[in-house]
């Protein structure tokens, strides 16, 4: 039984084995050999992990009593691992030109991804806390990776201080849940909570007294995984880790994608498995708590995005707004709402991956990352400009792209569930975001390229770019298989109950 449990951990284990192997090789091989073989080893273990998720089957399994493997986990894991493989490809040119410790970078990236996988699958508050910590320690080290650059170190310190404080906040919330129920397992917590207030002599504590505890858990999780407005540090970190060397867009991209996807999966599990639906607690959690976060993220992201001149910061704020829309899926907490959440999240990953690839390529040439550096990009690098246009259209939600399907479905479900105010705010935020998306597109396609040098596109980057463009278009035009898969993933939480 234990052996078969480890079988389901194969993706995580192959990442960890890959990371350790790379660290070991780093000791034995010299720098040049590491530069040549490090990324291949990382890519191999990433692909192995991705491949192994296809061999595990779809039946729901409890792994070691603290993780759940089911269609939902499989969906999220494949999304995460697919992103990891592309990040390794993207990181290759960056690592070769900007650091003398290539092995360390890949090892950290893989610990980071292993943490993300565990966060997405955990069904126990203890496991969640540990996994989030693995994720955030590896993330902090990635931000501070260029420790010769003082700004990178300062970014890492900021990550560490905010992150550790949030660990304490989240752990305090979990300790109260444990105290009330005597268990750390989501499903058992849910049973115990229903029993607590279901019994006839009602206990002294009213459910409403748990609202601060819920808020602690929510704030902790959301800040740790960087998916909502509190994370002031994230635009800062993606900027700071850029530093003067500029091309650390791979780090910014991994911070923008992996922890957020994992955090959403954890949030969905907490909402649907741990907080019993019959309880007032479930309703308070969805609205106002998560709802307010969604509104704040949407408005804050789009309004502050308007003022940015640095494209990395601009995309960081745009990402915050995007994740505000995705949070609506948690507020709805219906089967259709959850499928829409997965679809929107996938579209976000595709577009964000593509955008950061384009930014990475341009910032090799112009490390300041100003929007004005993109003037006349369609003449200087047609593939980049076309890709950037497509990804921005997808983020905005233009018909024919993956982003449209996600947004349309989310907004339809919001309307159906009767959250009209939320829908109006989301639409408003979408319109505001047109302001800064428009600026990038105008710079790329309408402004003249006078005085600007052409931008060469490395082979690895163009592979990632083309793959993401094809992905955005194919999922936007023929979404059926994809939607069915997302529905199957969402059904996991509703089939039995």
């Amino acid at each position: 039984m234990l052996i078969s449990d480890y079988l389901y951990l194969a993706p995580v284990l192959s990442l960890l084995a890959g990371a350790l192997l790379i660290l070991l090789l780093d000791l034995l091989a010299d720098r040049e050999q590491m530069g040549r073989w490090g990324w291949k080893a990382a890519l191999a273990s990433g692909l192995l992990a991705l491949g192994s998720t296809f061999l595990l089957g779809d039946a729901p399994v409890r792994v070691l009593n603290v993780l759940a493997y089911d269609v939902f986990t499989a969906y999220v894991w494949r999304l995460l691992l697919g992103a990891l493989v592309l990040l390794i490809l993207l990181g290759e040119s960056y690592v070769r030109s900007h650091t003398d410790e290539p092995g360390l970078f890949y090892a950290l990236l893989m610990f980071f991804a292993a943490g993300a996988l565990l966060v997405a699958a955990s069904t126990n508050t203890m496991m969640l806390l540990l996994a989030v910590e693995l994720l955030s320690i590896a993330g902090t080290l990635l931000v501070g990776f260029l420790h010769a650059d003082r700004r990178a170190t300062q970014g890492a310190i900021r990550c560490l201080v905010y992150g550790s404080a949030m660990t304490a906040v989240m752990a305090l919330g979990f300790s109260w849940f444990y105290g009330l129920t005597g268990t750390t397992d989501y499903a058992l917590t849910s049973e115990a909570l229903s029993g607590l207030w279901g019994s006839s002599p009602a206990p002294v504590i009213r459910p409403i007294a748990l609202v601060p505890v819920l808020a602690f858990v929510l704030v902790g999780l959301v800040v740790k995984t960087g998916s909502a407005p509190f994370h002031h540090w994230l635009p800062g970190a993606s900027d700071v880790s850029g530093g003067f060397v500029g091309a650390s867009a791979p780090v910014a991209a991994s911070l923008a994608i992996l922890p957020k996807v994992a955090g959403f999966a954890a949030l969905v599990r907490l909402t649907l498995v741990m907080l019993p639906e019959a309880l007032d607690l479930h309703i308070v959690w969805r609205w106002p708590l998560v709802g307010i976060l969604a509104v704040a993220a949407m408005l804050w992201g789009s309004l502050l995005g308007l003022r940015q001149h640095n494209i990395k910061r601009l995309m960081a704020f745009s990402g915050i707004a995007q994740l505000g829309y995705v949070l609506i899926g948690v507020v709805l907490a219906t089967e259709a709402g959850l499928s829409a959440l997965l679809v929107a999240l996938t579209a976000y990953v595709l577009a964000e991956m593509g955008t950061f690839t384009a930014i990475a390529v341009v910032s090799q040439k112009m490390p300041l990352d100003l929007v004005s550096d993109y003037r006349g990009l369609y003449r200087r690098a047609p593939l980049l400009a076309l890709g950037l246009l497509l990804f921005i259209l997808s983020l905005f939600g233009m018909p024919g792209t993956a982003g449209f399907i996600g947004k349309l479905w989310l907004f339809t479900e919001t309307f159906r569930a009767g959250y009209i105010g939320l829908l109006i705010l989301a639409a408003l935020s979408s319109v505001i975001s047109l302001g800064y998306y428009g600026r990038v597109v105008r710079a790329g396609f309408m402004d003249s390229d006078a005085g600007m040098a052409p931008v060469p596109v490395p082979a690895a980057a163009s592979v990632v770019l083309i793959a993401m463009m094809v992905g955005v278009l194919v999922l936007g035009i023929f979404p059926n298989t994809w939607l069915r898969w997302a529905q199957a993933a969402a059904q996991v939480f509703f089939a039995s109950g």
């Binding site: 806390l129 501070g144 310190i157 404080a165 304490a168 444990y178």
Partner: protein, 116 residues
């Protein structure tokens, strides 16, 4: 008063007080070391909560105590990371030999120019 008769609420009040002191320290101080100590205080509040709950809610089982150990492990990892970053910040100023020699080489030259 014997330990056994201390009620659960006292532990929880102490835990909450520790937590808020830690949070205040985190928000009020600029020095990294003091920030790290404040965070350790917050985590200790969590551990106190967990151990008290473990003692009063389910004395026969071990989930709460395990959780407390895990929180300690996390606190240790964070402290190690914090100290490593602290060294990374300090290092460029104190020990990088190339910079040091550069400054030393330049200083006499300025003096020489002044003399001429």
């Amino acid at each position: 008063m014997p330990i056994a008769s201390v009620p659960l609420s006292w532990y929880l009040i102490l835990g909450a007080a520790l937590f808020w002191v830690g949070l205040y320290g985190l928000l009020a101080s600029r020095a990294l070391i003091r920030t790290l100590m404040s965070i350790a205080l917050m985590l200790n509040a969590v551990v106190l909560n967990l151990v008290a709950f473990a003692r009063f809610v389910e004395p026969a089982r071990t989930a709460g105590k395990t959780f407390a150990l895990i929180v300690y492990a996390i606190a240790a990892a964070q402290a190690a990371l914090g100290l490593a970053l602290l060294i990374a910040v300090r290092r460029p100023h104190s020990t990088v030999a190339v910079e040091g020699t550069d400054v030393l080489n330049r200083a006499p030259r300025v003096v020489d120019e002044g003399k001429r």
